[in-house]
């Protein structure tokens, strides 16, 4: 996984609440056995008509937002299915940060596994960022994971919370499995004890 670096990027506003993973990546694209290449189908049913033409009104089709790296979204982003194809599609499109008042649990975890940072902020702050994002491509928003801050194009800075372990993994680009395997001895010990205590498992 690539290390997460501080950056300044274009933010696309998506004020809709309850954007679910079926919207992010419709099921027809779940039939792949690969992780890559899903970016063109991100938000497919909202982004293209039945003939495959772009719907000009959709935010990511507007010239200002085609290179967006940040999404400012309505409440409960990423609800629904556990499909990791949703973060894969977002990452493949180039999204690095998603800001909302809340995220669905599985989606939230999946983001970190793919080098993306989901940021939870209170409603008033999300509203400010949403307004900022609506200004278009000139309004670049700064993200600083080390300092845990996000700064609008007007220089207003908000702090966010992030789990220290998850932050560390993002910053270092660490592979979870490798880290866990370093603790293989603890797993072996636990497994042996559990086999004694609950032999029927």
């Amino acid at each position: 996984m690539d290390k997460f670096e501080n950056f300044s990027g274009i933010a696309a506003p998506m004020p809709l609440v309850n954007i679910d993973t079926d919207m992010i990546i419709p099921k027809v694209f779940l039939k792949t056995i690969k992780r890559s290449g899903l970016g063109v189908n991100l938000f497919d049913e909202m982004r293209y008509d039945r003939q495959g033409n772009e719907i000009p009104d959709f935010v990511l089709n507007k010239p200002a937002y085609r290179d967006a790296q940040i999404l400012i979204a309505g409440d409960n982003f990423g609800c629904g299915s556990s499909r990791e194809h949703a973060p894969w599609a977002l990452a493949d499109f180039g999204i690095k940060v998603i800001v909302s008042t809340s995220f669905a649990d599985i989606f939230y975890n999946n983001c970190f596994k793919n080098g993306m940072l989901p940021v939870v902020l209170p409603q008033e702050q999300v509203d400010v960022l949403m307004k900022d994002a609506e200004k278009g491509a000139n309004a670049r928003i700064d993200v600083n994971l080390e300092a845990q801050t996000i700064t609008t194009s007007d220089g207003e800075t908000f702090s966010f919370e992030v789990d220290s372990f998850k932050k560390h993994c993002l910053l270092e680009g660490l592979d979870d499995i490798g880290l866990t395997l370093e603790k293989a001895a603890s797993i072996d010990t636990f497994e042996a004890q559990a086999a004694q205590a609950r032999p029927w498992v």
Binding site: V17, M23, K31, D75, R83, I106, L181, P199
Partner: protein, 472 residues
Amino acid sequence: MSPKPSAKTLYDKIWDAHVAHEADDGTCLLYIDRHLVHEVTSPQAFEGLRMSNRKVRAPEKTIAVPDHNVPTTMGRENPASMTEESRIQVEALDKNAREFGVHYYPVSDIRQGIVHIVGPEQGWTLPGMTVVCGDSHTATHGAFGALAHGIGTSEVEHVLATQTLIQKKSKNMKVEITGQLRPGVTAKDITLSVIGATGTAGGTGYVIEYCGEAIRSLSMEGRMTVCNMAIEGGARAGLIAPDETTYAYVKGRPHAPKGAQWEAAMDWWKTLYSDDDAHWDKVVTIRGEDIEPVVTWGTSPEDVLPISALVPSPDQFKGGKVDAVKRSLDYMGLTAGQKLTDIEIDTVFIGSCTNGRIEDLRAAAAILKGKKVKDGMRAMVVPGSGLVRAQAEEEGLAQIFQDAGFEWRLAGCSMCLAMNPDQLAEGERCASTSNRNFEGRQGYKGRTHLVSPAMAAAAAVTGKLTDVREMM
């Protein structure tokens, strides 16, 4: 960290029994007792193992079954019955299951079915276990008092390689359903009503324990329906403490403990309940008598109302939900103020891991007996597993469905998410016993109303959303 109180919730107890390692910041390695695998969210995980030369750490605790893509029509063993892409996914599972040596139920096996129905049916799911699957409806297994939740594909790979998950503990939420349900009201109505009350983000950050007299009175099938949709309420998992109903269901299943092991297991299972003075971070109480048969009118599972209600208007809502409601009424082709019972439907789907068990089929058949599906409607029953299908045939339910005009299908996810050929056409409207009414879930521009199996059967007869109590 604050000192641990000695009184524990059921979630605390299962959690504590599975922590294999705890870091200073509270990040834990949670040991996983059962890992269920299906064809859609696993190929990239197995590929990852192969690329890094890793093995499946505990193949004997890993169970694979294809369900999402498989056709539910006869002759599906023939690879030509699937699209190229579906076939590749199912074949990849087949290859991975054999190569890594995990338990496997291919489509040709009568025990094949939806992963969340097969697990409990075969006795893989037991009280006090940790159960995960690359599928959000893993919450279903919580009905046994097992800590069960969905994970993403990276986590599937992590569990395959290490038999653990990196986790931080969630908060405890209690959902109590007091008293008794009234006639015509089912487990599906309970779970939808809870989501209606708390919202789809109401459970975010929590593990829910469902309790109260109305929950205790449910069968295991009903409890699975309730826990299945905990995820739609945003919760990490749903739980119901095990009791005699649980033990009676589990006993004698192929992979349930036997003899002395059964006794030892029972000794532990009987300690699996929330202590009286345990701490709850959030409590929701609903009177069982207040729950009515419900339907969803919008495109989020929280858009739920009693069948006697009217389609709401956007100005009854606040904040971002106003636009979401406008959008969903438009998508659903509904007008505010319209009676829910005036909504005409053209498709009925009975099945899914929410309502594809034998009791669900019995409830629907009880309404359909001696009646006919309205002319011009498409109606199908997709049993949750090959064994459910066989039992329904033996009990004569299949005949009732077929006499009424339902298609009688083979087991799979089918029109719950429409990855196989069972899909709604643009603008078609479906009364469905599944769990998600999202835009496009059952087919591009398809419209879904979530209901209980009995309500689905009633709708099939009248061609409209219908109060099942009028047909009882």
